[in-house]
């Protein structure tokens, strides 16, 4: 039995501890927001927060995620500045990679409320979008920073 804490809820799951966290979230907990893109931690589509930090759930065995606080895109509040910025700036195209990208951005902004361009590029170089939404991802980040500043959170 594996015990997981996901989006503030506790789960007990009958699954082998070497199964990647991604597939436990998707197929056992039916939280399909985190996506499968590469399986080797190269693309970031599977990004979730583990204890507040962006991690690639496709390469983390579920056993190693026990006792930690896991947040998926579904658990990021609806009024989170990144979610609102993504809608306002119409960042999304196909949208498959975007949950992972938004989780990457949310983690970046929780570390630094106003990251400089180098920091942004450094973090966003770790994720892949095939549709080419990159210019809008940049706009979305700027918008989220503005929203956070305006609301002082």
């Amino acid at each position: 039995m594996i015990s997981l804490n996901v989006n503030g809820k506790s789960y007990k799951i009958d699954v082998s501890d070497d199964v990647p966290l991604l597939w436990v979230l998707r197929d056992y907990l039916k939280l399909t927001g985190a996506k499968f893109g590469c399986g080797i931690g190269e693309c970031g589509a599977c990004t979730v927060h583990i204890n507040g930090k962006a991690e690639r759930s496709c390469t983390i065995p579920v056993g190693k995620a026990q006792g930690k606080k896991i947040t998926t895109i579904e658990g990021l509040p609806e009024n989170h500045p990144v979610k609102r910025a993504w809608i306002e700036e119409q960042v999304v195209q196909c949208g498959y990679c975007q949950p992972g990208i938004m989780m990457q951005v949310a983690s970046l902004l929780s570390e630094s409320r106003n990251p400089n361009p180098e920091k942004i590029i450094g973090a966003m170089d770790d994720v892949i979008c095939r549709c080419g939404t990159h210019p809008r991802i940049k706009k979305g980040i700027r918008k989220a920073v503005q929203l956070m500043r305006k609301e002082g959170n």
Binding site: V15, S16, V19, P20, W23, R26, D27, K30, L31, T32, G33, A34, K35, F36, G37, C38, G39, I40, E42, C43, A45, T72, I73, E74, L76, E78, K83, W86, I87, Q90, V92, Q93, C94, G95, Y96, C97, Q98, P99, M102, I120, I121, M124, D125, V127, I128, C129, R130, C131, G132, T133, H134, P135, R136, I137, K138
Partner: protein
């Protein structure tokens, strides 16, 4: 707007339903309200119900281009509907949902918006006329005194109004107007304004359902062991070992390999591992990168089939004051849609359900029908959202449907087949590699007198539409070089030469190819527009002026070139180490021209694309913001394939495996992008694909401008750039 994939909603006949159906001569708009439940045919385009909702059925696939928004916008605008009351339904696979331009239910060829532009507007306008008439009859006033506005009909004189919900049932009994008037552009309420895409909120919430997110009760998972080399057959495998893995239900041979069906994906993967399949070496065991390139370049010396022969090229080349010849090579690239291929199917005695992210409902239904043995009408295709399409999920993309239907048939349960990224790259269809050679002649004035073009590639029609290959010519491989003037789908060969010859050699390489965002326009545009640059320099002319001279009265092309030149500062000096290049390409009714600015590091051969300025004419623009997004995406994919992408081959198969060795563009490599939509009242064009083709030649021409080195091979990797600089 909650799309549903259930068919049940079609069965309620409660309001005004306007349908459009495809005929051999075009399309018909009809009043479908009165059809009885049992006899109902799902030809509804939209339905207005007493709850004031307008439900629009979207026939095509949403892959980020925004058709779940753009198509309903056309209906809502002409209908004078309240946008807040518009809902959408995803259409099932059925004849009435065929795209009038394509004759099939497909979302390809950048044809969704342009294909439905007129029919949907007409349908909306017909609805508006009927609702106005229903109101006039209710109030016993002349129709001319009534106006439709934002979901209600008003009678100003008596200050009365009725909502569409109240009027729809009466309107449903009226005859369809013969030729309902369309709005003037000045009257548009939604079209031409950037409307937020209806699919974005659920995608941002993480709740959107892509193919891989489908969950059917009692579903099993399947993965396939697939051949590592083209044509390879299994010599042996350990079925027992696989079936001993906990959770594995069945090992079943499948048309595309050996399927392992299991209770979880993890068990399926472990079962596949345990199979320990030994494969033979396949049909071309020695095939590697050099083998592919050599095959295509050497094919240029073999006799081919003649696609067109105007004038006397040989004579004109002999008489030319200057003759230029160049050979180009474009390698194969992979689609790598972020959502790997997948499909869920449930084959039962009397029906087959397929849940699939597909661009091709008709093709999906056909192949599932063949494999399940059920008639097409019993195959229910549920189109999910697509984690990108790029052509991989088009008509050729039936492999994953075959996988799922075969697996479900084998185990008698619903089965979801999941491809890993490695399978996606190694076992997928690719963008075709090309070898091309052009000889051209210039007269003493620097005019092009002859253009002789030879093309070697594998056939793109071979898998889905072999009948398209005629007398050794696969016209779909020649887009942008030569088009049959009779085919409305194709691009526009824009330059006219007095002597013009195109020859094609279809290679027997075993690499399966299919359209890759712009079909074959991108490969061909790279060659044509690079060589055009070579000719301009040989003629001692400015590349823009040189093109303008050849364009005659092709006004739309001239205008985008002129616009992009002005906006990008064409003709102004660029700093040392930097270069500026121009290129144009038109396809799918979109006319585009780009100027690229690059920085080249001549020491290490690296290129940075600093900026791309684009001018775009697609005629009327329904939803501008997603149009800009399509061009941005086209440019970025264009830069990615120009600088980085190349599928590696080894041992008769694909060596590239995942994003660690098949690299695509990342954030730090993204150029500044500036897009200018050219206002135009010309025919509406497509924009899903045309953004890609002008990118590569604009960049390569800019590299020439910066370094004096002409690079005739993609991708422009540091090694290739350094070699070209050294050999200039």
């Amino acid at each position: 707007m909650n799309p549903t994939i259930s068919r049940r909603s079609f069965l309620k006949i409660t309001g005004l339903t306007i349908g459009v159906s495809l005929t051999p001569f075009g399309y018909n708009v009809m009043n479908s309200s009165a059809q009885k439940e049992g006899a109902f045919k799902p030809n509804a385009w939209f339905e207005i119900t007493p709850d004031n909702l307008v439900t629009v059925t979207v026939p095509g696939s949403e892959m980020g281009q925004g058709i779940r928004t753009a198509l309903p916008m056309m209906v809502a605008d002409e209908l004078e509907a309240d946008w807040k009351k518009v809902r959408i339904l995803q259409a099932p696979a059925a004849d009435p949902f065929k795209n009038p331009l394509m004759g099939a239910q497909v979302t390809v060829a950048s044809a969704a918006t342009r294909g439905f532009y007129e029919p949907l507007r007409k349908a909306g306008a017909a609805g508006r006329v009927m609702l106005v008439k229903a109101a006039a009859q209710t109030w016993k006033v002349p129709e001319e005194e009534c106006t439709a506005f934002n979901g209600t009909v008003k009678h100003k004189k008596s200050n009365r109004s009725l909502t569409y919900g109240k009027l729809c049932q009466k309107a449903a009994t009226l005859e369809l107007p013969k030729d309902p008037p369309l709005k003037q552009e000045s009257e548009f309420r939604y079209m031409g304004k950037s409307m937020p895409r209806v699919d974005i909120p659920e995608k941002v919430a993480g709740k959107a359902v892509f193919g891989l997110d489908v969950n059917v009760p009692d579903m099993l998972y399947a993965v396939l062991a697939r051949p590592p080399a083209y044509g390879a057959k299994p010599l042996s495998f350990d079925q027992n070992a696989a079936e001993k893995i906990k959770g594995v239900r069945k090992v079943a041979p499948s048309p595309n390999g050996i399927a392992v069906c299991a209770e979880s994906l993890d068990a399926a993967w472990k079962g596949r591992e345990a199979l320990q399949v030994k494969w033979d070496r396949g049909s071309h065991p020695d095939m590697n990168n050099d083998f592919v390139e050599k095959n295509l370049i050497e094919s240029l010396d073999k006799p081919g089939a003649v696609a067109t022969n105007v004038g006397d090229v040989k004579k004109a080349l002999g008489e030319a004051a200057k003759k230029l010849e160049a050979t180009y090579y474009v390698p194969a690239v992979a689609h790598t849609t972020m959502e790997p291929m997948n499909c869920t199917a449930h084959v039962q005695n009397d029906r087959c359900d397929v849940w699939v992210p597909t661009q091709a409902q008709t093709g999906t239904q056909m192949v599932a029908s063949q494999l399940s043995g059920l008639p097409p009408a019993k195959v229910h295709v549920h189109t999910t959202l697509l984690g990108c399409g790029l052509g991989r999920r088009g008509s050729q993309g039936r492999d994953y449907v075959i996988d799922a239907v075969a697996a479900s048939k084998a185990v008698g349960k619903p089965v979801k087949v999941v491809w890993s990224r490695e399978e996606d790259i190694k076992n997928g269809f690719l963008r075709a590699a090309y070898g091309q050679r052009i000889s051209a002649g210039l007269d003493t004035q620097g005019q092009v007198t002859a253009w002789s073009h030879k093309v070697a590639c594998t056939s793109i029609s071979k898998f889905a539409n072999p009948a398209a290959i005629k007398n050794g010519i696969d016209i779909y491989c020649l887009w942008g070089i030569y088009d049959l003037p009779t085919n409305p789908q194709l691009s526009h060969t824009v330059y006219e030469f007095p002597n013009f010859y195109v020859e094609q050699v279809l290679s027997d390489l075993p690499i399966p190819v299919c359209p890759w965002r712009s079909v074959t326009n991108a490969q061909n545009a790279f060659v044509v527009e690079s060589f055009m640059d070579e000719l301009a320099h040989a003629a001692g002319k400015d590349p823009l002026e040189f093109r303008m001279h050849l364009l005659g009265n092709r006004m739309r092309v001239r205008r985008v070139l002129q616009t992009v030149a002005e906006k990008a500062g064409w003709g102004k000096p660029v700093p040392k180490g930097k270069g500026r290049g121009i290129a144009q390409h038109s396809c799918f009714g979109g006319f585009l021209a780009y100027v690229a600015d690059v920085s080249v590091n001549e020491k290490d051969g690296t290129i940075k694309v600093d900026r791309i300025v684009a001018a775009v004419d697609i005629g009327p623009v329904v939803n501008p913001n997603p149009v800009l997004a399509q061009v941005e995406g086209g440019i970025i994919e264009g830069v990615s394939t120009t600088l980085k992408e190349q599928v590696e081959f080894a041992n008769g198969g694909v060596k590239s495996a995942n994003f660690d060795d098949y690299k695509i563009l990342r954030m730090s490599e993204i150029p500044e992008i500036e897009i200018h939509l050219v206002k135009s009242n010309e025919k509406i064009g497509g924009i899903g694909e045309p953004g890609v083709p002008p990118t590569a030649p604009a960049i390569a021409n800019a590299v020439f401008n910066a370094t004096g080195a002409r690079i005739r091979r993609l991708p422009l990797t540091p090694e290739i750039v350094l070699a070209a600089i050294r050999s200039k």
